[in-house]
Amino acid sequence: MLMVSITVFILAAFVGFEVITKVPPTLHTPLMSGSNAISGITIVAAIIVSGRAEGALATTLGVVAVILATINVVGGFLVTDRMLEMFKRDPR
């Protein structure tokens, strides 16, 4: 199981390097906030572990994980959209 995960991780990292090297410097801030939103995918893990948590402590920690990951996802995508909306081409 761990080896499969490591394989997926390494292949995805190569894809990441290939794709992201081509992002121009002018978009580096939106890249950071947008990729940050993508790292909020932890929300999936947060939902799964909360859904099966037992006891008060685990349930609380799980819900906190959901809150943190949701802020990351919602805030990250929205602020990236807000920034990218401002990038305009020269009309002339």
Binding site: V23, L31, S33, V49, L68, V73, G75
Partner: protein, 454 residues
């Protein structure tokens, strides 16, 4: 839900992230790409919520509502100048989420050895990312001093904690107990704080990029814990992105990652140069306006001083006034012009400067020799020719914008005070350099008036 269908939907989400990031390679398609990635995320969340393994939805839905509300308010309210803080905070939340996931899962069941290794990684990377990011946030927000903060014997203290983390990590994998888990978590939280505090404010762009990578790795580690490929793929993508940006910033600042993380650089504790010993050519707004108005081409070099003075909009007005006189105006953006990678581009985009007038360092440096005027506003170290010529200079070897190659160089600056690196700038004393000593916003608005009356 059918297991295969579920895996398929997660795969679709992962592909949406990759295609979304690919569309970030051009400003024309970037917004669309970000929305595609957001849709992928929505798909992943809905798929998870429909998962039969999720039994109690009340807490989860409440968490999503609270998190969304906070996220929306933060994203809508934040000023573009404060973007580095926001990204730092978001990095911290992402890392925190991974640490909490690991804790929740550990309490339920420490699992087999594979899972325990993953739990150690997830709680370690997640906790460090969380507290490290919050310290970075506090420094950028001015809640704590931007100067390096350290105490006597800190290196020893940190090394000792690192060693303890290593031992506890191994212990948790071999014979898991709650005590070991919580001490490991606590120490990871502590080292996140003590490692980032000694790093000076000037190095924060590197730190944010690095913590961005760490938040990705934390997500991947959480994916290892629950055996989810979509988390691992997304985490790896973000990790790669953060590392690329870290490497770009480190090179642009002439530093090494190790050097940055060791701390102690920047702030006001740097070497103080003897300045103001040589004569400079002072110019009034009218002098500069004539030079600009009759130029064929002008390259503007904005630095963070421009943003501090909130002068982006009046800068755009000046560019407009010049373009109406058929002067070619371009903007040269050094990678560290802002407080995070690409920050200055966002600030100028906010002031309606079209992105095709913004040029990066490599592209624009060839053109200074064929340019009539280089207008430096609120930038200092990034245009310091000592970086090319003076082997004894602390910034020697740092890539700079070659503004001294332009026929005339106009520098708008409050005084001759040194920049972040605390060193004098020989550019100011060159034959072809005109100094305009004023606040950036006032100087630029004077220039707009003067250009319009030329």
């Amino acid at each position: 839900m059918n297991q295969s269908l579920e895996s398929f939907l997660y795969l679709v989400a992962a592909v949406a992230f990759i295609v979304g990031l690919k569309r970030l390679t051009s400003p024309a398609t970037a917004r669309n790409g970000n929305r595609l990635a957001a849709l992928g995320m929505l798909l992943a969340v809905i798929t998870t919520l429909l998962d039969s393994g999720v039994v109690s939805l009340t807490g989860i839905i409440a968490g999503i509502i609270v998190g969304s509300a906070i996220g929306v308010v933060a994203a809508k309210r934040i000023a573009m100048t404060d973007m580095p803080q926001l990204v730092a905070a978001f990095n911290g939340f992402g890392g925190g989420a991974s640490a909490f996931v690991a804790a929740t899962e550990f309490i339920r069941h420490p699992g087999a050895i594979d899972t325990r290794i993953s739990i150690v990684l997830s709680v370690l990377i997640g906790s460090i990312t969380m507290t490290g990011s919050f310290v970075a946030f506090a420094k950028l927000q001015g809640l704590v001093s931007g100067n390096p903060i350290s105490f006597k014997g800190q290196k020893w203290f940190d090394s000792l904690i690192a060693l303890a983390i290593l031992v506890l990590g191994v212990l948790l994998v071999t014979s898991p107990t709650s005590l070991v888990f919580w001490v490991l978590t606590l120490l990871s939280l502590v080292i996140g704080v003590t490692r980032i505090l000694p790093i000076g404010g000037a190095d924060m762009p590197v730190v944010i990029a690095f913590l961005n990578a760490a938040s990705g790795l934390a997500a991947a580690a959480a994916g290892f814990v629950i055996g989810s490929n979509v988390l691992i793929i997304s985490g790896a993508l973000v990790g790669a992105s953060g590392l690329i940006l870290t490497s770009i910033m480190v090179k642009a600042m002439n530093r090494t990652l190790i050097g940055v993380l060791a701390g102690g650089f920047g702030g006001t504790s740097g070497p103080q140069a003897e300045i103001g010993q040589l004569p400079v050519k002072r110019a009034t707004a009218d002098d500069v306006a004539i030079t600009l108005a009759y130029a064929r081409s002008v390259i503007v070099v904005p630095g963070y001083g421009l943003a501090v003075a909130q002068a982006q909009h009046v800068m755009k007005d000046l560019a407009n006034a010049l373009q109406e006189r058929n002067v070619e105006v371009r903007f040269a953006i050094h990678p560290v012009a802002g407080r995070m990678p690409g920050h200055m581009n966002v600030l100028l985009a906010e002031a309606d400067v079209p992105y095709d007038q913004l040029y990066d360092l490599e592209t624009i440096n060839r053109d200074f020799g064929r340019t009539d005027v280089a207008l430096v506003v609120g930038a200092n170290d990034v245009v310091n020719p000592a970086a090319r010529t003076d082997v004894n200079s602390p910034i020697y070897g740092m890539p700079i914008l070659d503004v001294d190659a332009a026929t005339t160089c106009v520098v708008i600056k409050r005084s001759l005070s040194p920049g972040f690196a605390g060193i004098d700038n020989p550019l100011f004393y060159l034959e072809g350099t005109l100094m305009m000593f004023d606040d950036a916003r006032k100087a630029l608005s004077d220039l707009v008036t003067a250009v319009n009356t030329v």
